[in-house]
Symmetry: C2
Subunit: 476 residues, 2 copies
Amino acid sequence: MKIDVKKLKEIVGEDNVRDNIADLYVYSSDASVHSSKPDAIVRPGNVKEVQELLRYANKNKIPVIPRGAGSGMSGQTVPLSGGIILDMKRMDKIIEIRPEDVICKVEPGVINDELNMQLKPYGFFFPPTPASGKICTIGGMIGNNASGIRSVKYGATRDAVIGMKVVLANGDFVTLGSNTKVDSSGYQLAKLMVGSEGTLGIVVEATLLISPLPKFRAMGVANFATLEDAGKMISNVIAAGITPSMLELMDKVAITAVNNAQNLGLPDVDAIAVFECNGMVKEAVEYDMKRIKEICKRNNGTGIRVSDDPDEMTRIYEGRKKLFPSLSKYSEGLFTTALADDMAVPMSKIADTVHEIHEIAKRNNVVMSAYGHCGAGLIHTKILMDTNKKSQWQGAKRAVKEVYEYVQKVGGTTSGEHGIGFSKGPSFKQEKKDSLEMMRAIKKALDPNNILNPHKLMDSPDDWLTATHLRYQVKP
Amino acid sequence: MKIDVKKLKEIVGEDNVRDNIADLYVYSSDASVHSSKPDAIVRPGNVKEVQELLRYANKNKIPVIPRGAGSGMSGQTVPLSGGIILDMKRMDKIIEIRPEDVICKVEPGVINDELNMQLKPYGFFFPPTPASGKICTIGGMIGNNASGIRSVKYGATRDAVIGMKVVLANGDFVTLGSNTKVDSSGYQLAKLMVGSEGTLGIVVEATLLISPLPKFRAMGVANFATLEDAGKMISNVIAAGITPSMLELMDKVAITAVNNAQNLGLPDVDAIAVFECNGMVKEAVEYDMKRIKEICKRNNGTGIRVSDDPDEMTRIYEGRKKLFPSLSKYSEGLFTTALADDMAVPMSKIADTVHEIHEIAKRNNVVMSAYGHCGAGLIHTKILMDTNKKSQWQGAKRAVKEVYEYVQKVGGTTSGEHGIGFSKGPSFKQEKKDSLEMMRAIKKALDPNNILNPHKLMDSPDDWLTATHLRYQVKP
């Protein structure tokens, strides 16, 4: 079915439709390794326009792919079979902030950091903290169930979303969830929408729980000669009933990359842990930091440093914060790719998993760095490789497969916060094999013509490397 | 379709099937006002038996109603069109406790307090705390998304359930969710199952997040001459970033009932607030209690008492704890009925809602008491009336309708933690009117023969009073 661009322009106005080759190219990829061209980009400005667009698309069976900032790492917004990209960034109103009810209501195009700037004068913030906070939209965060460095204390986007307004595939407008923290009114469809990656409906408004800004915080760092010790330290902190607001791990590859890129002079150890506690009471924060320090020592941590001085905290955090951009400086000619980029494992398996990731990388002739929000069981990795070489892609493909096989073996799950898209499709389909039919039944019930972000999640291709275009030039 | 009792006995054994009149009578009601007889009661002992039972029931289109302790207040387990009650209490194994991963795995028949007794030696607990904790099962809590007095700090059952194993209507066995606190692996079907009241599948195992037992706690009480002041106090505590582990309200009817029944000599005020803070650090608990005291004073609270002495805390808590059994002593000849028994409203609307509930009761010639976990926006009420009189039921019916109309007007939701069943069906269907079709589509996709707990939630009767049997003798 050819798309009727004139019709699209009638719905959203001339200025909000693009189908020139340059724009199509920009919207053909996100932060994943993939690329595939849409047929048109449409930027709706209100609910009515979203409804009309979906009615048109549904009638004509045209794929519709909602998109926020395009910062997703798993290909969620890459239109594998073309169609319309629904760029939601124009719908960016903060509808209301109600500190007396501890909620706010926003349109999907609101940017995470912008929302927090608006909440600050009220003494509140929206806790999910993805690394892409400066650009990512609340709509995108809902699609992926984003979480970030503070998930160990505050959970993920799903925990903070209590209600939403959604346009379904047929153009119907529905209100889901409620305005209250507790809610036992039947099927919690707002929670189901979170993490569904745009395959079940288009979120046009969200009601979010907000949290009071903590008054005090302190940060610390500790070095560990072995991954085992670092892993035990993380497990012990959580089991001791401490709730740090951050509990991060960096492996040796990450440390080397940061040193190469930033010249921070981090020590030559197997692992560095970075932690933070926050709260309303200075003594409680100090007490928790003291306990974490003790646990670090008990697990052979060295160079333990703790501070509540803002400059010193910035320095401590610098290494972790600059990690992602630093990775490409690990070694000349190796580029960072978002592959096996996230996973979650039971707390006690973190050290083993990071160790195994290194073994897998070695075996497959690529470099892998592991780091992440380990206090919540979340591990991030990136694969560093020469993206020009076909053999490297084949090695990466084997590595991805082996990593997720291991994650499943230790009882972990394919994605901790970046979502499945189709980069993680094969592992997802393996992990969820007995509930894929259940997912497909729900998808079919809500989107019988399969127009909403097709070929993702349970319907993703069996092979992410051959089934899709790469956004890299690969020589044979 | 007549049920083949011989077949049922083949599946679960002679001893685990009942169809004598006495047992059918016992299983025809729960803690709601309703009653309707099942055709048989079956007590499966393992997953395979649940699968075989569902295959048989699905083939023969026989309703199957899963049941835990039968302590639900909205008629969730009352079999409106007969069928098989699936009594899940035999499946009561605690499968594993993994403090190192901060999770445990249990069968659905495990009793809440029993689980906590087993978790205690590890220094952990399962946070949802329904008043029925001594008898209610984890399966029932999942069905209803139970929460209780500590929801203000720890959330509800949905927040604690991260994975489960489920038998679907056709007998298929599926594993949902994961073992990790964060999880962005597609549709979160485990979360969808929580609160679905047995209409989408039979939970045969659940993976639960557990929390470290706090080392310190303190409790307080304050009296308020007006509901407005009490309501403002609650809002202010939450907005100040304090996270109490309990923040309860009792209205004048509740206070009178407790005084009549227990002779506790509570003061003659419009509202009493009971609060608790807990944590790992004594100073932090004390600091929070001090701040709550200040907020009470600022809102004209009197008789403010705070203590961390266990005996004194028990005394403070006594009034609240004995509230439900005391209600029937409010006045000679008035009985407590679970009608309009729970709701949740935005925090800032608590005082107005409680005030309105009293006006509605007066108008309709019944007595209503309001109390509950107001720190989470949750209000409980009971209707006290002469259950023999038809006119009282008609008044109660009008009162229920008016209460929920008001709750919806202020942006609240029909159930905060007791679930919908069919007592709350009319309000639920009004509140969710634009997403009922979506719910029905999901239900149909997963249970095409509609055998799992039919006539509940979106498919409940339009009138809970005329459409169903009451378990009371009512004179015309």
